[in-house]
Subunit: 121 residues, 2 copies
């Protein structure tokens, strides 16, 4: 095995659009996805799985029906399954999501922010 | 939910020992573990699972029987299940591991570097 490491900055340089997760790695049946976020996402939940947010660069928040959590570079948070949440970021923020393969970014709240799934870069 | 984010630097300030994974988060049946590494680990594999290495700070390498991969800050690598590997770092390096709950750090190569499992900080 003489494979190369996966470099976040190099992968992030390959796309610009917001709220459109790009898969960079798979571990068992889980995927690691880079996302650039800015502005408001939609309220949604994931009925069958927790979801991990890791901030690579910038700042964001995850709003809940009864509060919110703020995340900066070098911080992570686990949104429990079934908990409604709405991510947002005032300025562009780069994050790494970890979740099972097949999870749709908007959960069941399908709409214009629903991204194509399983897009690798 | 008014929980706080999990801050890697704050968690890393809470321990000093090497090769002793500390759990900081759980997602479904997976755990996120911070580890400080320096020097040579032991050859081992994990028969039942892939293992993710994400470098938070510093540099490390993962040696394989037929090559190696070098990892710096902001890089990750997935070691496939069943593949023998030996992590090492010339200088102290801080990493985030992602793997299923219950994985022993040395696989079946039990010895003095085998760490207590499921230790949270």
């Amino acid at each position: 095995m003489n494979e190369k490491s996966i470099n976040f900055a190099e992968k992030l340089s390959k796309f610009a659009e917001h709220w459109s997760p790009k898969v960079i790695a798979e571990m068992n049946d889980y995927q690691f996805k880079l996302v650039k976020v800015q502005g408001d996402f939609v309220w949604h939940d994931h009925k069958d799985t927790d979801e991990v947010f890791i901030v690579i660069d910038g700042e964001m928040a995850i709003e809940f029906r009864d509060g919110e959590v703020r995340l900066g570079k070098g911080e992570m948070f686990v949104v429990p399954k079934g908990v409604e949440h709405k991510p947002y970021a005032e300025n562009e923020c780069h994050i790494l999501l970890v979740e099972p393969k097949g999870v749709v970014n908007t959960g069941e709240a399908m709409g214009e922010l629903t991204a194509e799934n399983d897009v690798w870069i």
